[in-house]
Amino acid sequence: MEKLRERAAAILADGTVSLVIGYEEGTKRPRPLFCHDGESARKLIFDSRCFHNLAVYLTKKELVGNGRFAVTATISTLRSIMQLYVENQLSEDKLLILTVDLSGTLREFVTFDEISAYVEQFELKRSEREQAILTRIEGMTREERWNFWQEEMSHCFKCYACRSACPLCYCTKCVVEVNRPQWINPWPAPVANMEWHINRAMHMVGRCTACGACGDACPVGIPIDLITRKMMEDMAPEFGYIPGLPVKKGNALSTWKLDDREQFIR
């Protein structure tokens, strides 16, 4: 950790970057920290308690400006960064990635391929919580699943924390912010809640890297992350993807090729 602090302070001091986004101790658990100088870099921490996906900040121009910046990245954050590279939302010459590997060694990455080589070592597994809820849901009939999600979504009050915490929800104007025309009724109500969550899920298919940030952020405890996670798991084998590992050739549902024979259409 001391090496991370020293390195962060050094790259801030020599002008390599103008900002390091990392973690500091929060009031209950670690939280995101924005370091603009060596002084604040002394507060940096990086351990297994750091769970926020800091990739969410990397596409916010008002925060990162136009210069080069650095981020301390967990495996989840790295997966998101790769996805953002695939979607041309980040450029390799603007971002320096710092992480600490399992042996405690400070690692630095710049390119998609460097991150990819590192992340490939880590298999994306369901956590105990994910396994428990997903097993329950997988054991349900279609009607039971619908009822389960209807009940869960009925608690949604549309604070959009799920969207705000998601690194891949970077649209400058989200579908719920388009009000001419108003696609989705903005008040919380059974149908309007479903419309929002189905929209969100559909926008995530083939893109979600299962970091779980949306579920962590939900103040009313909806396991919202499991919808996009399950979709990712289901579609990965269909398209020859490895779950949670973005591929350079593009997203399954947002690429279009002239030579695609589309044999499934009859």
Binding site: G26, T27, K28, R29, R31, P32, L33, F34, H52, V56, Y57, E62, L63, E152, H155, F157, K158, C159, Y160, A161, R163, S164, A165, E177, N179, Q182, N185, P186, W187, P188, A189, A213, D216, A217, P219, V220, G221
Partner: protein, 336 residues
């Protein structure tokens, strides 16, 4: 105000008499690993041993979405159906914390600041509040710093302070409270002279409102807003769990020749909240929206409505996905 004693069995009997009177009773219930206010019929449904509900009771007097009026166009004429205050049922809120009960005053001050708000006032009029003083608190609680206390009576019609024997000290504060007592008058016994403060959690004040106010009056252009808000992701969790946040949106729900005009919750933390039709946004950045949130609660409301817009319930700090801790932020401003 009158103080009485009510035994454990007396509480059970009284609760039943309130439910039997036909009033809707809402109380904290443990469901889906969260404590939330829900409609209850039995005392056994009510949650125990928790510090705070995730959401406040705000929705009981300021619903998440409410129809202001509905209309129907027919042969060039418009038939309006206005909001009917008599449609609101009598409601009793059971086991409200004093910080929630104290939230009614700032909410009502906002809704009535220029002209009386028929909807909000109808809800308030039909709602009775039975608060329970607090024997527990956590690190997010700070009611004592914002004119409150674990035994504060503001906004309560009756307050119960639980005693070790399972009974309670009952402070009957308002005529509404007396009407609730009248549902089961025999269970309210003579006051046993117990000292209420013995049963309240000790929660020292963390900052002085006057100091904070003085600092905030000069802080509009301070760099503190940007520093504090960098990690804020701009969701509405803090506003929606807050007992006093009252930002709303007016929406039209039109289907052919009929429609409804709806008032629904909104949040000053959302970029869309202040976006003008022209495309200009006076609060373009999250730091400006964060400044608005704090200044509205701790500067504008005290100055214009003579009430602080925060009751120290700590919900925003608990709900925030990125640990935007209001107590920490206000304390750091006070200490600057």
């Amino acid at each position: 105000m009158e103080t009485k004693y009510i035994s454990k069995s007396g509480i059970e009997q009284w609760f039943k008499s309130i439910v039997d009177s036909g009033k809707r009773v809402y109380a904290p219930v443990n469901s889906r690993d969260q404590i939330e206010f829900k409609r209850v019929k039995n005392l056994s449904e009510v949650a125990d041993e928790y510090v705070q509900t995730t959401q406040s009771i705000k929705a009981s007097v300021y619903p998440k979405a409410e129809v202001l009026f509905s209309y129907e166009k027919e042969h060039g004429k418009v038939h309006l159906t206005d909001f009917n205050p008599d449609s609101i049922p009598e409601t009793v809120l059971w086991k409200v914390h004093p910080c929630d009960a104290a939230g009614f005053k700032p909410l009502s001050a906002i809704f009535n600041w220029d002209s009386p708000d028929k909807l909000h006032n109808a809800h308030v009029q039909k709602t009775s509040v039975i608060s329970f003083s607090c024997a527990m608190a956590d690190e997010s609680c700070f009611c004592t710093s914002v004119n409150g206390s674990p035994g504060n009576l503001a906004g309560s019609d009756i307050q119960l302070t639980m005693l070790p024997d399972g009974g309670a000290i009952a402070e009957i504060v308002t005529p509404k409270g007396e009407a609730l007592v009248a549902l089961s008058p025999t269970v309210f016994e003579a006051d046993k002279g117990e000292d209420k403060t013995k049963y309240l959690v000790d929660l020292p004040a963390r900052f002085s409102l006057e100091e904070v106010n003085a600092k905030l009056n000069k802080a509009f252009n301070s760099t503190v807003w940007k520093e504090q808000s960098e990690r804020c992701i701009g969701c509405g969790a803090c506003a929606f769990v807050c007992p006093t946040c009252a930002c709303f949106d007016i929406q039209e729900d039109v289907h052919g020749s009929t429609g409804r005009r709806i008032r629904c919750w909104d949040a000053c933390g959302f970029g869309l909240f202040t976006l003008h039709t022209s495309g200009h946004n006076p609060r373009e950045h999250q730091s400006q929206r964060w400044r608005q949130r704090l200044l509205h609660k701790f500067s504008y409301m005290p100055a214009r409505l003579n009430v602080v817009g925060c009751t120290g319930c700590g919900r925003c700090s608990r709900a925030c996905p990125v640990d935007m801790n209001i107590l920490e932020h206000i304390t750091s401003i006070a200490e600057q």
